[in-house]
Symmetry: C2
Subunit: 203 residues, 2 copies
């Protein structure tokens, strides 16, 4: 089995590394050089037609992409600890929170990166006004998430889950591109410290 | 159990109705009047802080939102037919395809609706140039999906799955807002006819 990825700050390969560290499963990462655009090469696109990382390649040559789908596969092979929830309702709740993190929190961060950040400007056509508007959208997402965290220590309640991994990779990527957590969001700040203190956060 | 939703063209409640019809499970929908902005009322936000539909309310008052998470919950209660995949790898593949449909196909449709469509103009600040640019992004998504459909009759391969439900709701919503399937995409057109012919598509 081969896991294609890239080091920090790339947020999506980090999710898989962190998930594997939580499971205690060792799958070394095969690096894809993003600066050399290796992820857009014909060879890599054979494995993932979208040219994105991470991608998991099984020994029979079949491939799987999308960070959360790859983690779901490893969870099925290694059921404990249950990071996608235990009961039917908990599993659905974790899925709901993964989706909320991606649509509400990650979307404005991605839009800012794509349309307002100087790093991507030479690579893509940017709509700067739209891109800049995502600062406020992400500020709103932080306010919402900070309120929601009144319900528990972790994103999906009192248990650490895949939703925390998705949120940590998002919030840290956002900080790296210039969108830090606003200090008035004390619950979000505390959550960030709590999750960052896990050894898996360094994976 | 109460399922809050709204009729067509709202794409996300339709996914749950179609999924339930495929399972043969009858859960009547409690309508939320979007034109009266009932989904943004304080009462509804008690059930879903994001003010979105659908939301499922269990008899103990606990709630679940996000179309795919709600369907995942119903699948756990009614395992057959397995619309989220069978084996560990198939399950991960269906999840990958759900995510690809949402990030690659639904995102430009949503951006066009949000930033370029006259219907939303009075409700929200639009970035029109950005919104219009999503016509080409959606055209690219159609080209990509049409190529991918060479691998099988359905989105995730040879078996109908939740990924088809997500894709149908997206493509039909796109057509409704003025972004039809381009006729040169014959595989995508055939897939659309195949999935639309299922009785569940009328749910």
């Amino acid at each position: 089995m081969k896991l294609y990825g890239a080091p920090m700050p790339a947020p999506n390969p980090r999710r898989v590394r962190m998930f594997l560290a939580e499971l205690g499963v060792d799958v070394p990462e095969t690096p894809v050089d993003l600066r050399k655009r290796e992820h857009k090469s014909p060879e890599y696109r054979e494995k993932n037609s979208l040219g994105q990382i991470p991608t998991l390649e099984l020994d029979d040559g079949s491939t799987l992409s999308e960070s959360v789908a790859i983690c779901r596969y490893f969870q099925a092979l290694h059921p404990e600890p249950a990071l996608f929830g235990g009961t039917a309702f908990e599993t659905a709740q974790v899925d709901m929170w993964i989706r909320r993190v991606e649509f509400i929190v990650m979307t404005p961060v991605g839009n800012f990166w794509r349309h307002a950040h100087p790093f991507t400007a030479p690579l893509l056509t940017q709509f700067k006004d739209f891109g800049e508007s995502n600062r406020e959208a992400y500020a709103g997402a932080q306010r919402w998430l900070d309120r929601e965290l009144a319900a528990g220590s972790f994103i999906a309640g009192e248990t650490f889950s895949m939703a925390d991994i998705c949120a940590l990779s998002t919030v840290d990527f956002a900080s790296w591109i210039g969108l830090p957590i606003a200090p008035e969001h004390t619950r979000l700040t505390d959550w960030h410290a709590r999750v960052s203190a896990r050894p898996s956060a360094l994976a």
